[in-house]
């Protein structure tokens, strides 16, 4: 299978990255720290904070595990359908007795329809044919004009190229046999069997909707998994800095907005890196196995998914950071996270349902303009077609403006709450000063 070298290559890349990270960590253990701080030089305090966040997150085992899981899921989503649609691109067909030129032409024609190359061999008798089918030397045997032999029964749901060829051979050869029995000449039979079907034309323009739909389904699931993962990091990260009191030391040197912005930027960069890795892996693998998952409008869906993943993270990260600053206990974090995740789950389920049904409902179109649900609804709407460019721009603009607004409120809550030790801080007490 030509996908195997690519899969091995992808696995080697992941292994090399994790090994490099481990080696770097070992080097740091062995000697004084000598890292380069690109972000620090570029963005000052915010960059330094972001850089630490990126480094710590990439070092964590959790990141490596979840990345490998995502890559495995994407690989499965891409490879399995291609495995199902045909295990081999060439097949060896046996003919009991002699294979006439007309039969050879007919077999070649039907095989081409299934994108298969066939090698036709003659078999002396039925018993030999059975043995060669059992041993795997033959994929299918044409038993004169009486039957088609295969090794294992073909299920009704098997849509592989081999199964489709067996069905079409059985149907075509059966019809030809009937024509011969009816007394038609070979020329007449050839004319009938080579007759062109009438074209089917649709009123709506042709689109590669089903492919884009599949891509959007995977995209919506990835956005959900990644948003949930990175927002949990944000929530827990802020809570842990508060609980360990390190935030007091940090805020003595850094403004709250720089500290929080750096933290969110760092986690966001890790998210983008992971998403980029997954998409690059998906593109390479899809190309390698000849998957049509990224054909047609699907690349547009991928781009929309990435953009709204970033916008969704930018919007929610401030909300989760503010929530994390309200508590310093893990059990309280759960009760804070639950109400915040409601719009995420709602947007996810509605979008997933729409992507599955192939119909962009009015609800999906409304949710596409609401920042909390847009990361799911917009890629789905793009996949299902019918979204105008100005609607994309409008949705993105609403998300960006809302993010600025929510960031101001979140930063104010964070600044007031993060140094308040003890139990959970109530918003009302923050407003009271």
């Amino acid at each position: 299978m030509k996908a195997i070298p690519y899969a091995i290559f992808a696995a080697l890349v992941v292994f090399a990255i994790s090994r490099r990270l481990r080696r770097r960590r070992d080097q740091e253990k062995a000697g004084p720290p000598t890292r380069r701080d690109y972000l620090g030089s570029l963005l000052g305090h915010t960059g330094l904070v972001a850089q630490r966040e990126v480094r710590e997150r990439l070092r964590g085992r959790f990141f490596r595990v979840i990345t490998l899981v995502l890559l495995a899921v994407v690989a499965a989503a891409i490879v399995i359908p291609t495995l199902h649609s045909g295990s081999k691109s060439s097949q060896t067909l046996g003919v009991v007795g002699t294979a006439s030129p007309a039969l050879r032409r007919e077999v070649d024609r039907l095989a081409r329809n299934e994108s298969l190359t066939v090698h036709l061999v003659t078999v002396a008798d039925l018993e030999t044919a059975r043995l060669q089918l059992s041993s795997g030397r033959l994929d299918l045997v044409i038993n004169g004009t009486t039957s088609i032999l295969v090794n294992k029964p073909i299920s009704a749901t098997d849509i592989s190229a081999g199964a489709q060829l067996a069905r079409s051979l059985a149907a075509t050869l059966g019809v030809q046999q009937t024509f011969r029995a009816a007394g038609l000449s070979a020329t007449q039979i050839a004319q009938i069997t080579q007759a062109k079907a009438l074209p089917i034309r649709s009123v709506q323009p042709e689109s590669n909707r089903s492919t884009a739909q599949s891509t959007s389904l995977i995209g919506v699931i990835l956005v959900f998994v990644m948003l949930t993962q990175y927002l949990t990091w944000t929530l827990m990260g802020v809570m842990e800095e508060k609980a360990s009191r390190v935030v007091e030391v940090l805020l003595a040197a850094v403004k709250p907005i720089d500290l929080l912005g750096g933290k969110l930027l760092g986690i966001g960069l890790v998210a983008l890196f992971q998403a980029g890795l997954v998409v690059a892996f998906a593109l390479i693998l899809a190309k390698a196995v000849g998957s049509d998952l990224l054909h047609g409008t699907a690349p547009l869906v991928v781009v929309a998914t990435l953009i709204w993943l970033v916008l969704g993270y930018a919007f929610y990260s401030w909300v989760y950071a503010a929530a994390g600053s309200l508590t310093e206990r893990q059990d309280q974090v759960q009760s804070l996270a639950l109400p915040l995740s409601v719009p995420i789950i709602f947007g996810y389920i509605i979008s997933l349902t729409a992507a599955g049904s192939g119909n962009a409902s009015v609800l999906v179109k409304i949710l596409a303009f609401l920042p909390p649900t847009a990361p799911f609804a917009v890629p789905t709407w793009v996949a299902l077609g019918g979204i105008a460019w100005w609607e994309l721009v409008f949705s993105a603009a609403i998300s960006v403006v809302s993010t600025f607004g929510i960031a101001r409120v979140a930063a104010a809550i964070y600044r007031r709450a993060v140094l308040r030790a003890g139990g959970r801080v109530r918003l009302r007490s923050l407003l009271a000063g």
């Binding site: 740091e28 000598t34 380069r36 710590e56 850094v254 403004k255 007031r416």
Partner: protein, 305 residues
């Protein structure tokens, strides 16, 4: 001339006010910290020490007042040249010691190489040079305290604000950190630290500031405060441990009984012979000396209701 007028104040807290609901944490608090001295910052629990220290770093919103450095209001840039060790230690538990201090040094404006050199130097100075690669959570309490101090010192600050830096340390830890504080002050740094270990404060500090209920109640050099106030006697009677003989002497109040030594505060009209007679009635008097106030007595008298 009073202490506060005599020294050149570099760090000034002027009229600080802060309330949390109905609780007044700072009530028009004003005091100053000169450079070149170690200043003890004392007060009972809940007196407002931590709030005042946080106010220096802008970590709490003030209802009124200001913090000035060399006569100017301070902002983020000035605060970056200050070092802070909060009461509740704050470090990333799973981050390596050296890396963590370097990071904090970078946040305080050091270049990468400056921070790396400073980390090495301070870890060696605090006898934890071999723990640079260890995670903070793997260190003992005392060593974590040293790391926290290194984090406050890494950028060679002009002002050092330490909230209970000696709490929970063994004698060698106290000696090591105490020596560093004195050394920093000698190089011209402003050093202000809070502690409830008054004997240690007395040993380390040139001056103290005492607050209670958010207000300043006493400030001055340790010598000034110790030698001020009414006369006091230290009396020891052989075999007596509880000093019951001193309980009913007119014009004399027992301020402390410790290890058989009874410390009495005399009113201006009280004759010391009266005290001597009372002591002799209890047994053989083996110590009878006029003494200065201890810092613990200064503290108790200043914060008495």
């Amino acid at each position: 001339m009073p202490y506060r007028d005599r020294v050149r104040a570099e760090l000034e807290l002027a009229g600080l006010r802060r309330s949390f609901g109905s609780v007044v944490a700072l009530d028009n608090l004003s005091f100053s910290v000169p450079s070149g001295q170690v200043v003890g910052f004392l007060g009972p629990n809940g007196a407002g020490k931590t709030t005042a220290m946080r106010a220096i770093f802008g970590l709490t919103d003030l209802d009124g007042g200001s913090v000035r450095w060399r006569g100017q209001s301070i902002g983020a840039e000035e605060r970056r040249r200050f070092g802070y060790m909060p009461e509740e230690r704050g470090l990333y538990p799973s981050m390596a010691v050296g890396e963590q201090i370097e990071y904090l040094g970078r946040l305080h404006g050091l270049s990468r190489s400056q921070a790396a050199n400073s980390v090495r130097s301070w870890l060696e100075r605090l006898d934890i040079g071999d723990r640079a690669a260890s995670k903070v959570e793997s260190l003992s309490h005392g060593n974590q305290q040293r790391v926290q101090l290194a984090a406050a010192l890494v950028h060679d600050p002009e002002v050092l604000i330490l909230d209970e830096p000696l709490a929970g340390l063994d004698p060698s830890g106290i000696d090591a950190i105490g020596a560093v504080l004195v050394e920093r002050a000698r190089t011209g740094c402003c050093v202000l630290f809070s502690s409830h270990q008054l004997d240690l404060v007395e040993d380390l500090c040139e001056a103290v500031t005492i607050i209670d209920h958010g207000r300043l109640v006493a400030t001055g050099t340790v010598d000034e405060l110790a030698s001020s106030g009414p006369r006091r006697l230290a009396v020891r009677v052989e075999g007596d441990r509880d000093g019951a003989w001193a309980a009913a002497i007119p014009g004399a109040r027992v301020s402390q009984v410790q290890g058989g030594e009874v410390r009495l505060v005399l009113e201006s009209t009280t004759d010391s012979d009266t005290v001597l007679a009372a002591a002799q009635s209890a047994g053989r008097v083996i110590e009878f000396v006029f003494d200065r106030r201890r810092l613990s007595e200064v503290f108790r008298e200043a914060t008495a209701p």
